[in-house]
Point group: C2
Chain length 279, copies 2
């Protein structure tokens, strides 16, 4: 009977953690939820912690003291990440993805909920220690990746638009130079979307010249907010000189092999270096 | 000792279900994962099933037979949904959200990962029986809600854009009439984004005249795909006559009370009727 109750508690605790990433549950709140002693729950949590430590669901962080408790925080296994990204590179290198103009078709990947959860988990783990207070992206293709990253970190998401909308109220607009096409573009964010002093994590799908990420940095500066990290799914090898330096890319695209019609795309050395520091 | 192993299995099984909504796990795959008998795992799963039945994490569906197994499918509790939406209405009715031109500021909600997970769970539960094969939306503000709905159903997401892009290859473009502003707009979807015969669930943040949802229907028709459901977060009371009839809205917006400067917004009777049929 005690065994049955324990099994039920562990199933429910695990589901609560997984359904609320980043949320701190106090032992007292669990104690009320289950009508069980804090010491009992503490033991249950240590079982879940052990299971998660051996897998890639994230990590259960326990905080001691009266205000303490437990929460699910992002964690990835560097080896599993490399394997998963190698698989993604293989998928992206397929000749069927080559488009006119040296583009690769990636929309199915950047809009895929399951890929975005796997890739967002990497960004969440890489930038967790930077303690961001929100995630920011610019419409459109970066949104799913930014959303899953924010979800796994338990943070809000802020999306800047190409132009202001009446349905978003007064906004701050900046002009910026696209790093690759050298054209002037506009980026707009509602005034109420970002508080001064917020620590911002920038997430986007693609970085060529770096103009868009640089634009987001300038936009944040207008709000008195502070960029604490930037992550992109794919960066291009060319141009070598980017408008921003301090970012983490997951993949690097070095163009299309005209003969074989496949893309040269590999796991980014920026990520590998960053993961080495995490271990 | 057996008790310890069981606790570990239940934690891991729960985390596997929660991390892979919609995915069918066969008993054999679990059996390999844990080195435990299928009958043992079957008992573990029934514990998790019981716990989920009493909560709002979804529902564990077990399929019998050799090819059978278990998966997490969407489920919501109608009473909890009504409470949660009433809370959202209260939040949205705040005078601070009133914008010039009879708009309410909603960007923080439609981009919020935690709100989108709660709201996406409603759409996923409402449309699960329609057996969609993908979720579709149009950029920008519907994307997070469509993504979480697709995630909880274990489906891919397809996003149509306001115009075609070189980075998305050849596309199908349609012109459609906005139901409210009576202007001609364009919607574009890459040719490879949607296969003929796909059952499509349309999700969007806002429905006024219904032109956008109608546009998505026409776009799907161009691909030989079939709309099996449409869900929007907010519909407006005016205009009463919409270009589409068969959709489910979660909330209904009836304008702004000029005196009190609060919005009149309530849980949609369309949702209430639909949930009654679900019970």
């Amino acid at each position: 009977m005690a065994d049955e109750k324990r099994a039920h508690r562990i199933a429910r605790l695990t589901a609560e953690f997984c359904s609320n990433p980043g949320k701190l549950f106090t032992l007292s709140s669990f104690s009320e939820m289950f009508g069980a002693a804090r010491s009992t729950l503490s033991e249950d949590i240590s079982v879940i912690k052990e299971v998660f430590d051996g897998r890639d669901f994230g990590r259960i962080e326990t905080l001691p003291g009266a205000a303490g408790g437990a929460r699910l925080v992002p964690k990835v296994n560097p080896r599993a990440v490399q394997q998963m990204l190698a698989e993604l590179c293989k998928e992206l290198a397929s000749p069927s993805r080559v488009l006119p103009g040296q583009f690769i078709y990636m929309s199915d990947i950047v809009f895929s909920p399951s890929w975005c959860h796997k890739l967002g988990a990497i960004f969440a783990a890489v930038f967790f220690d930077a303690a961001p207070g929100c995630v920011m992206t610019v419409e459109t293709k970066g949104i799913p990746l930014a959303l899953t990253t924010a979800w796994l970190l338990g943070l809000p998401l802020v999306v800047s638009r190409r132009e202001g909308r009446a349905s978003e109220g007064s906004s701050v607009n900046i002009n910026y130079m696209s790093g690759s096409s050298r054209t002037i573009q506009t980026m707009s964010l509602p005034r109420r979307a970002l508080q001064p002093g917020t620590r911002v994590l920038v997430i986007d799908d693609f970085l060529k010249g770096g103009g868009t990420v640089r634009g987001m940095m300038e936009l944040c500066a207008e709000f008195g907010a502070q960029i604490v990290g930037a992550g992109v799914l794919v960066e291009t090898e060319e141009p070598k000189s980017k408008l921003v330096q301090d970012y983490v890319s997951l993949l690097k695209f070095s163009g299309i092999d005209e003969q074989a019609q496949t893309s040269r795309i590999a796991v980014s050395d920026k990520l590998l270096a960053r993961m080495q520091r995490m271990v």
